[in-house]
Symmetry: C3
Subunit: 320 residues, 3 copies
């Protein structure tokens, strides 16, 4: 790499590392978060029926990461509330987004150029939150990589991870789905960031902190802009995910595990299960979930994953 280029990038990365999130980047985060809440089904009506529940939901959208990491670290849940300036700023944003005459604020913020800029600024705050979480965990748990990833992930994507309970505040309950079962793009990108920053903090990844901040921030901002401009929902990680899946998680034989053949397989090998009830529950488990069409061989596993996801979604929709 050209030294000059490196020097420039170095200055830029230092500048980014020393940037303060308050108040403009935080404001952008509040605006984009509350817009996302507002665009969910039923929320506008909620804002007329119960402003308090609407406000509480908005605060969970804005400070969800801080709340979840507080729960995980056994810190007071009210600690995020004690930062009065941030809460006031978020509350004003909430009020203007829902109750502004002629809906002026929402319509302006929804203009594509402005929305693009605000979303970019929100992605910058993501880097700060993830890094903040990783460092906080690093101080308390030294070299526990898993804890650092968990706290970084929670801080950066907490709002999405607690979505089931945020929906409960609004009187909505959808237990058939959650961010672990079907990870959305923001949660995925935050997990990757948490892993990278955790590896960097424990010196497994030979990068300086501010360089990684710059690379990660640029990647997230550019990718988010691409998604917004092209409307494409194709994940940039699709290829890597499918490779990891095919390598590690395809399992033993082609969906034998998903049918009652697994019992026969084990029995053919001369294994006898411990209790009769085990066999019953295996068959019950197998018989109850065969909307997935059997696929032969590992090459079809990604297709099968999509099929099973579709089946899962249909199954969820039916349940709904």
């Amino acid at each position: 790499m050209d030294l000059l280029e490196v020097l420039h990038l170095d200055e830029l990365s230092h500048g980014l590392a020393n940037l303060s999130m308050f108040p403009y980047f935080d404001m952008a985060h509040y605006i984009v978060s509350i817009m996302a809440l507002r665009e969910q089904p039923g929320v506008l009506q909620l804002s007329r029926v119960s402003p308090l529940a609407c406000w509480f939901s908005s605060m969970l959208f804005c400070f969800g990461g801080a709340v979840l990491s507080a729960i995980m670290l056994a810190e007071p849940l009210v600690a995020p509330l004690s930062n009065s300036t941030s809460v006031l700023l978020a509350s004003i944003t909430w009020y203007l987004m829902f109750y502004c005459p002629v809906d002026l604020v929402y319509c302006c913020a929804a203009l594509l150029p402005l929305r693009l800029v605000l979303t970019g600024m929100k992605e910058v705050t993501r880097t700060w939150k993830v890094l903040g979480g990783v460092i906080q965990a690093h101080n308390k748990y030294n070299d526990s990589l898993l804890v650092m990833i968990a706290i970084g992930w929670a801080k950066g994507a907490g709002g999405g991870l607690i979505s089931n309970f945020e929906q409960l505040v609004r009187g909505v309950w959808k237990p058939e789905t959650n961010e672990l079962l079907k990870m959305s793009y923001p949660t995925k990108i935050t997990l990757i960031g948490a892993v990278l920053f955790a590896l960097q903090q424990t010196h497994y990844l030979p990068l300086k902190k501010h360089h990684l901040m710059l690379i990660y921030t640029v990647f997230t901002v550019v990718n988010k802009a691409r998604i917004m401009l092209t409307g494409s929902s194709v994940s940039p990680f699709a290829a890597i995910e499918s490779t990891i899946y095919k390598t590690l998680f395809s399992g033993h034989s082609s969906y034998a595990a998903l049918t009652d053949e697994v019992e026969k397989t084990c029995m053919d090998k001369g294994a006898v299960n411990g209790t009769p009830s085990t066999k019953k529950s295996n068959e019950k488990g197998a018989g109850k979930h065969t909307p997935v069409s059997p696929v032969k061989g590992q090459s079809g596993s990604l297709k099968a994953k999509d099929e099973s996801e579709n089946a899962q979604t249909k199954h969820s929709k039916k349940k709904n």
Copy 2:
């Protein structure tokens, strides 16, 4: 105000402030709380099927405020359990209320004169809990008004606020409603108390603590007695609530936000939403929730609020 009268009230308020809740007022609180639990659908049957779940629910009714504020302040959940005398008293009350021969205790406590007195004493404990929570928060978070209100509210109305999870213990799950969506009278009066005591502690409200305790206690006791004697469910705050609602939360245009007109409104103004999926979710959101009949102008907003509440209730009943 006549000085003599002030002096008398001052003595009375000091007397009230120095009153100990243990054991008579606490007993009254346990009796009234467990009676309220017993009168919920299905609880008597639960007491025969699973005494343990019934006991656990009763403890949540009695100590719900302490549990919720412990969660919020990251204090051990078992701390309320460690007060053995209180737990023993509450457990004895639970046992007599559910399993007394000939149902003697419940029938006596349900006698109107006795029930009136017990409920009045319970209202007195409410003041103590709210004030205790506000002061506890004040010590930890100095001047954070929001935290003081939150902890005071949690301590005073915790049982109601965690009702969804208390019902889960009994095998009941009603996600479509909670105390934020539709606040009951006790939760409302506790919130008001928390706000008043928080303002008093931070010197925004120029009242002495024991004076405010007397005023608040008298107001809650008298109002609760009125509700019990007249059977009236009209809230004393209805006028104030409707004024606040009409002033602050009517929003931009008459329910244009609740129909798909909001998209046309923004588009007419030349705004283009960022992503195509946003538009879809707006329409979906709009189309899915039109049981609220459109109302023109702000004068009809209170009526619309009632209509939307009725629609919400019908919608909830349908979901049930």
Copy 3:
């Protein structure tokens, strides 16, 4: 008791008390726990659709006790995660149990002789967990018997106690049942252990700690082996439970409480309920839950308990 026999048992109990759970007993606990998870309906399919949710569920099965007691004592939820060796061991077990080629690990572990040994070793770890929880609570809360029982119970049976939320991770939600409403055998045996160890620690039970450990461990291992070998689901406590139930929890009159007769009963005695709505909710409560056939007299109460349990189960199945 023969002194020699006592001496031998004493050596044995000391040996047991000084045994280290890591790594073999812990491994056995992970293997048996993850097998139990795997045999639940839908989990194999989950492992193909979302390995992350499957892993998270497995960790809750393995470390559920530590997580629940951390919540109750306001300790960081991530503390169990920080024990990297244990988490690594559990994760490897999870991977081999779900994704081993030809499903080798599961089939081997399911062989009855091996499963018997592993389950016995898991029962040994139960003693350690319960005792650990009781002692931890004893250090913090001195002589609060209830807290010691609660923490010991949570540590030993946490995985079962948080089952509703573990199922939520998998997208399953069954609010009509939980371990308090219908206690499974492991949860019951853990509760008994927690009570015994709490009484021993507070010197109400005149036994030495290592003697009680030996007795309790032998009892749990032998009983679990009996259940696995005979396939019998008859609880060894059935007789004691029914005696306690008939003595303490049969209530006032034969199911008068479960019908609307209770209102008439109270009214005949001249009691008038406080508010009209109370009467309505009593009738509603009574009327809504009469699948239990009325039984006369206390001798039939156990039969009625079974009937109501059956009714409850049918009612749950209908709900499902």
